[in-house]
Subunit: 203 residues, 2 copies
């Protein structure tokens, strides 16, 4: 069995990150999961603990921070939100691929906690295309689209902090690119050592 | 344009290396080349300089060694044989993928001269399968097959010197694995920096 891995995906708003991750999760089936965030806010309506969020007390959240178990976190108002490493590590141990869909800001700290993470930066083919996509969503005013484009340019300048850069022009190509990255990482010698022992020891 | 790359492929005799590389070269067409060796022996019959070998004088070969331009080399009898970096670098600059099919012994020195090389170790699914393949070739005696298997076990123990390990069980899967490695390397941030500048500067 290949060891699993954590794939961090970031990219400017409108680059198609959510659509892409959903498509890959569908294609990989039982082999891939989206990481679940942790929060100290109250559970709402039909939310399920461990599915929508891991709902914990502020004390438990702070304990996780102290133990270096939060890949990234932030406090909004009185509540903490973040990504706990523990559940991700359990999935990785069983050979699963875990996706973390995260803002460029949050992505910066992940490798400090978990250096093995593979960070992918998703970019639009051009700023014109990004503007068209943002405008087509119809959710933002002209002013808001303008602001998002400015933020996008700032974020694109931080792409060098990532391991891989994937251009999301044709969705199918971008899916295949990310599948290639996942496969290549599975084939890295560190993740394949057991295969060699199997071949030699079954002699 | 993505930058090209050097892919070094090694593996025990009978693991299917030659068949695999031939199939990938066919699939990649103009995008991939097999590296051409350099030698000081005389040209024979219908051999072509630059195709079968680069035929050079002993002085030129030694000059290449001195300048750190030989990825690996050996002397058999009075003649040098080796792999010159220069022609490979020219292809890489134009975005091509270059394959170097090489023994485990020769592969060890490549990264000293060209650290960017990606080294792939090809393994059989099991020693039983390797034995069957070697026997099926019909070119080796039982004794020779035995010797090849012993060498194979020694070589498998050196697989950790490689960046990637690919199991050659079903040929098509092994081809796809190597294509994934090539694509993932093209997508590494270092090889994609120009894409980011293009996106930002065309604003």
């Amino acid at each position: 069995m290949n060891k699993g891995q954590l794939i961090v995906v970031s990219g400017p708003s409108g680059c198609g990150k959510d659509t892409l991750i959903t498509a890959i999760l569908e294609r990989m089936g039982e082999e891939a999961f989206l990481s679940v965030s942790m929060t100290t806010r109250n559970m709402r309506g039909d939310e399920v603990d461990g599915v929508d969020y891991f709902f914990v007390s502020p004390e438990e959240f702070e304990e996780n921070i102290k133990n270096g178990q939060m890949l990234e976190y932030a406090k909004y108002g009185n509540n903490y939100y973040g990504t706990p490493l523990g559940p991700i590590e359990k999935l990785i141990e069983t050979g699963k691929t875990v996706f973390l869909n995260i803002e460029v800001q949050g992505g910066a700290s992940v490798k400090k906690i978990y250096p093995q993470a593979q960070k992918i930066f998703l970019v639009p083919p051009s700023l014109e295309v990004l503007e068209k996509r943002l405008t087509a969503r119809g959710t933002d005013s002209v002013q808001e689209v303008e602001t998002r484009l400015k933020i996008a340019i700032d974020e694109l300048r931080r792409a060098e902090e990532y391991d891989y850069i994937v251009v999301n022009d044709v969705l199918e190509d971008a899916i295949n690119d990310i599948m290639s990255i996942i496969r290549a990482n599975q084939l890295k010698t560190d993740n394949m050592k057991n295969i060699i022992s199997e071949v030699v020891n079954n002699a």
